[in-house]
Amino acid sequence: GTSTESSGDKGAAIAYDVGGRGDQSFNDAAYAGLQRAQDEFGWEGEDLEPSDGESDADKASRLKELARQGYNPVIGVGFAYAGPIAEAAEAYPDTTFGLIDDEQAKGDNIVNMVFSEEQGSYLAGVAAAHATETDVVGFVGGVEVPLIKKFEAGFVQGVKDTNPDITVKSQYLTQPPNMNGFSKPDLGKEAARGQLDAKADVIYHAAGLAGQGVIEAVAARGEWVIGVDSDQYAQKTLAPYKDSILTSMTKDVPDAVYELIKSVEDGDPQSGVVRYNLETDGVALSESNPAYKEMTDLTAAVAKAKEDIIAGRITVNTTP
């Protein structure tokens, strides 16, 4: 295959990270962006899952195969694709490669879509600090990796900046490379129960599917939980617990994916780092729970914090 075939008529392709489609996290979010583009541009597109225990070379050949078949852009979900995308981008200079959650791989035809999760998490921290009555809040992370620690860092800072006396309980479910922590709801449930028993009344989770366990446990006690990635208040599977979902820290991956595809379709492909933060609404707190909107103190504080961050008056840490 040569790069001249990449005429763009086959549409965009996504290569997923471990977990793949159905993870209700950023793999699904990326797919949502692809779907939107499919509807608009009318091509099929392609999305592929990784196999267990594969190495960088396998990822690289997956990307190259997609480029060879003429997909453009080709998007890798997750930092695991950093190395492989650099390799594939060199082999197929006429194809645009998107890389979500990483800015290590650089190249003219590489688009690094990065999110300031710590900023959104900071707002979640502010919200939690206002919502708590016991002055104990909790954070449940799926797997103790830097990405999730970014969530924790922003959240803790948000809470402490609002009220330094509040205790934040942090709990991770598993250690890498054991990624079970993103897929075992029962672990999330027990971790949340532990924090509830320790008097936490607002819990923020960044645990992928295991977060469903967190939400279920918190809802059972009638306390507040803060969702992640997408607006979990609106998720069908979580409908029974939605009244307990105070808000969610959303990460607009669908839009990022869509924008990239659109730029390629429009013949003016993006390039370099595209940062999605509070300013661009790439990360945000959702407001679909009416109870949330009723807490005017809280929403005001969140709005203020958002302004301060955008204005650069507050810098949010990316590590705890």
Partner: protein, 402 residues
């Protein structure tokens, strides 16, 4: 325990010997029996596995043939072939590690943990030291071997001194290795954060193992040469040395080996350590040939695949090589199923079916061979007796008339 080392799994133990393959016919000539023994099992098994998978495909309303065609076509690409070869190199070494244990009825489930821990420590050391090219590589590999040996040695010590089943202890040690690795690659310890990834820092170029550049296909890991040598060494040691004989004897019958002078405990410990040493090398193809660092995306689960492959290859180095290629092929070529609207789980199902089919057919062929051999021995002896009947008949008749 044939000289050719051809091994099957019999009902009782994963590493026990195969009578049939060693059964050169009494006269020493090859014949159909021997051919059937050697090829009957695998061929029968592959056929059955493919057939069963096709049934699954048919049941779910899919074309029962096209997936195979697609996969074979896909594997025609040069870069895919290189990937398959590279991945089977890792699998091959891991499977050898498992096989060493199997040959003496030790079940080292811990190859995965040994492999990961060895890769981390080797990567840390490799990034920290500076040596001229070949020495640097050698040092890294040595560290990996020692780490693997150490980690497996714990299970060995626990088994020989405290009687702890190696199955349980290696399961535990796998999990403990995970924790230790998670700790070691923290930025506060030996790790570096790169974006959202954690790595152990890049090994300088002097510590890379040069590969074979095939141009468009990509680079074949140079470590494949080491893997091949490892296979030869494995065969030589097992079949041509006194240590190997002791090891196989222990696998075939622990009690007989002990009575023959093998120190069973030391043997258990030694083979566990050897298994760990080899397991430690399993991470080297990727570490030295590709990633040059240990990070969160380093391949996992290799040790478990190694178990499957060792079983498929009947602990024989050539069999293991074929098994590694087959599994790597299924892993990688199944990618194309996604492109063509098939579920790639088909490949996983096929892997499971192949394992079952292979062992069932090996067992069937083994039994057939054993019976067949006994029959022939009986027949030949009867024929011999008949030949000598002239001398005996007198005695017999005398006995009967008494």
């Amino acid at each position: 325990m044939s000289d050719g080392g051809g091994d099957v799994t019999d009902g009782g133990k994963p590493g026990s010997p195969e009578p049939g393959a060693s059964a050169r016919t009494p006269g020493g000539r090859f014949d159909t029996d021997r051919l059937i023994m050697a090829f009957g099992g695998p061929v029968l098994a592959l056929g059955v596995a493919v057939l069963l998978t096709s049934v699954v495909l048919l049941l779910s309303g899919r074309n029962p043939v096209e997936p195979y065609v697609l996969m074979v076509e896909y594997a025609g690409n040069a870069d895919i072939q290189v990937n398959i070869l590279n991945r089977s190199t890792t699998y091959y070494i891991a499977a050898l590690a498992v096989a060493v244990g199997f040959r003496m009825n030790l079940f080292n489930i811990g190859v995965d943990g040994q492999y990961r821990l060895a890769a981390v420590i080797a990567a840390i050391v490799g990034a920290a030291i500076e040596l001229p090219a070949p020495l640097h590589v050698l040092a890294i590999v040595l560290v990996a071997m020692l780490t693997g040996a150490f980690w497996a040695g714990i299970a060995g010590i626990l088994k020989t001194t405290r009687g702890v089943s190696e199955v349980v202890s290696t399961i535990m040690l796998n999990a403990i290795a995970t924790s230790i690795i998670a700790y070691l690659i923290l930025p506060a310890q030996f790790g570096e954060q790169r974006g959202n990834n954690l790595t152990t820092g890049l090994i300088p170029e002097s510590g890379w193992f040069p590969g074979f550049d095939t141009g468009p296909g990509g680079v074949i890991y140079g470590f494949i040469v080491v893997a091949v040598l490892l296979g030869v060494l494995y065969w030589l040691v097992l079949n041509r040395t006194r240590f190997g004989f002791d090891l196989r004897a222990t696998g075939a019958s622990q009690s007989a080996a002990a009575a023959s002078g093998v120190d069973a405990k030391r043997m258990v410990f030694t083979s566990m350590v050897i298994s760990g040493t080899v397991a430690g090398m399993a991470g080297m193809p990727v570490l030295l040939g590709d990633s040059h660092t240990y990070s969160l995306v380093f391949p996992v689960g290799v040790g478990f695949t190694g178990i499957t492959i060792a079983l498929l290859g009947r602990n024989h180095p050539v069999g293991i090589a074929l098994g590694a290629l087959l599994i790597a092929f299924l892993d990688i070529a199944s990618q194309t199923l996604d492109f063509n609207g098939y579920e790639r789980e088909i490949a996983t199902i096929m892997q499971g079916l192949i394992v079952i089919a292979v062992v069932v057919s090996y067992e069937a062929v083994r039994r057939w061979g054993l019976r067949r051999q006994q029959q022939r021995v009986g027949e030949e002896l009867a024929a011999q007796a008949a030949g000598a009947a002239g001398g005996n008949s007198q005695n017999l008749s005398k006995g009967a008339s008494a």
